[in-house]
């Protein structure tokens, strides 16, 4: 479904991604784990066209999207839940959801999906006319995920959805990730520092270190790998 071939991305002269290759099959949950500054967020921003790669290729459903504009990429079915949630703070909850559906024209479908979201997260329904910036961290994360879902993505990119949230909310977020994957068949690329949780829900995983992929295996394989255990699982 998505294939990164030897992708190099730079900020000025600093190479953030030093040639990474990732393959994602339809219906999978893939996780990329790694420490701060490994290049995980950069990978997602590169896929979305925000920071186009200097070298390499990105193929999505057989089409080259390496240098496509971000709005084209969203239109093709890739949405992102960015790090830090990035809710539009002065738009209401409902307007934030509408922004997620920005490229869709099927008014009825948008309404149906919005109702589905409100059913999934009743708290968002309660606060639909409240400014996004006034929500709590957990609520904002739910809104960020919902906003991305409103685009009806085929591939959902999630950047540290558990960051800064209470353990109980983290549990909830991860169960929703599994639910989205199973119920809608949405493919998910999950970037996480919380490797324990990420490897529980993922099918396969990649380990990233300072701009390179150093390991690639099934989630089970990674969990039982002694090096991964030592460095990322803290056991």
């Amino acid at each position: 479904m998505l294939k990164l071939e030897d992708v190099v991305t730079c900020y000025g002269n600093i190479k953030a991604l030093k040639g990474i290759s990732i393959t994602i099959q339809p219906g999978e949950i893939i996780t990329v784990i790694g420490a701060n500054g490994a290049g995980k967020s950069t990978t997602l921003m590169t896929i979305c066209g925000i920071i186009p790669p200097r070298q390499g290729k990105i193929i999505y459903e057989g089409q080259d999207i390496t240098n496509a504009e971000p709005d084209k990429i969203v239109g093709m079915g890739i949405s992102q839940v960015p790090e830090g949630r990035r809710i539009f703070p002065f738009l209401t909850v409902q307007e934030n959801l509408d922004m997620g559906a920005y490229l869709r024209r099927d008014t009825d479908g948008i309404k149906r999906d919005r109702d589905y979201i409100y059913e999934l997260f009743p708290i968002l329904a309660e606060r639909r006319n409240q400014a996004g910036g006034t929500l709590s961290g957990g609520e904002q994360q739910m809104l960020a995920i919902s906003r991305a879902l409103m685009a009806k993505p085929k591939l959902l990119l999630m950047d540290e959805p558990s960051l800064g949230l209470a353990p109980i909310i983290v549990q909830q977020i991860f169960s929703i990730i599994t639910k989205i994957n199973q119920e809608n068949g949405t493919t998910i690329l999950l970037v996480e520092q919380n490797a324990n949780m990420a490897l529980k829900v993922a099918h396969r995983g990649y380990v990233m270190e300072t701009g390179r992929i150093t390991m690639e295996d099934t989630a089970k394989g990674l969990v039982s790998n002694p090096e991964v255990k030592d460095a990322y699982l803290g056991v």
């Binding site: 709005d71 969203v74 990035r86 922004m99 490229l103």
Partner: protein, 302 residues
């Protein structure tokens, strides 16, 4: 008599404020979206007025109804200026979008100087008369000269523009996209908003209202030259900052506050200090509220 004088100053201030508001809208919207002070914005206002003057001159020979001429000239002027606004963005700002903000600012100042001199060379440095096309309304005969028909048109047009713009920004798809882009440009891209379109649209709206202001004020004052955009632009910029740059209601409020201050200041104190009042008031307000009357406190991002 005293009360008449007061009302005259009040309405004069409101008229000034209206014009400032029409210009300030462009400053504040552009700043909201791309964080740029578009110093060439005053020139759009001036170009709008000049375009109207040229059209009026051309149509004046046809013997059409003056009001009709005024309307046609206004429409053409506004459309032409919108074209100028978008073109300026395309050549002077878009290539610098990822450059440091100072570069775009300097580009904006350059554009302003270029447009002033372009009109100076194409036209003249002298003040040109702008013909009176709007007749005095009959019902104003009893008003004792407190308000003129052009003033009424300016106030009404500005009010209409404010209402339409508010509805546009609040409820339409593009309006929501504009707000989203101004709050987080990168995130706007991530939900699929084509920010180039949004930015171009912002320049169209801003230029549209500024040119409208240009045409209206010239029909009111009756003369123009290539320099009017500079001083009006600076004043409108002050108004936008006063109200809180980036905020649309702020720009409108700031404009009326500024217009009234100038009008009462010149009327009751001295007309020699006309321009001083604007800046004095700016300093005062910013001392108390650094982000402007309705400005949002800046949150530092780490």
């Amino acid at each position: 008599m005293d009360l008449d004088y007061f009302f005259q100053l009040f309405l004069g201030g409101m008229t000034r404020g209206s014009i400032y508001a029409l210009i300030a809208l462009g400053y504040t919207m552009v700043y909201g979206i791309i964080k740029l002070i578009n110093f060439a914005h005053g020139e759009i206002y001036m170009i709008g007025a000049f375009t109207a003057l040229i059209i009026v001159g051309a149509l004046g020979m046809t013997g059409l109804n003056p009001v009709l001429i005024f309307l046609i000239a206004g429409v053409i002027a506004v459309l032409t200026s919108a074209g100028y606004g978008v073109t300026i963005e395309r050549i002077a700002y878009k290539p610098l979008r990822n450059a440091p903000r100072l570069s775009a600012l300097i580009s904006a100042i350059g554009m302003s100087l270029f447009l002033q001199n372009y009109v100076l060379l194409a036209q003249t440095s002298n003040f040109l008369p702008f013909p009176t096309l709007i007749p005095e309304f009959k019902f104003l005969a009893n008003a004792g000269g407190i308000i003129s028909s052009t003033q009424i048109i300016i106030l009404a047009t500005t009010a209409l523009v404010m209402v339409v713009l508010t509805l546009l920004i609040k409820f339409t798809r593009i309006g929501k996209a504009m707000r989203a882009t101004s709050q987080d440009r990168q995130m706007a891209q991530l939900v699929g908003i084509g920010i180039n379109k949004v930015i171009a649209f912002t320049f169209v709206i801003g230029s549209f209202t500024a040119a409208l202001g240009g045409v209206l004020i010239c029909s009111h004052i009756g003369q123009i030259n290539f320099y009017i955009g500079f001083i009006a632009g600076i004043k409108a910029f002050v108004a936008a900052v006063l109200g809180g740059i980036g905020s649309i209601p702020g720009a409108v409020l700031g404009s009326f506050v500024l217009g009234l201050t100038e009008s009462f200041g010149t009327g009751y104190i001295s007309s020699d200090y006309e321009d001083v009042f604007a800046f004095l008031f700016l300093v005062l307000i910013l001392t108390i509220r650094p982000s402007g009357i309705l400005g949002r406190e800046k949150k530092a991002k780490v």
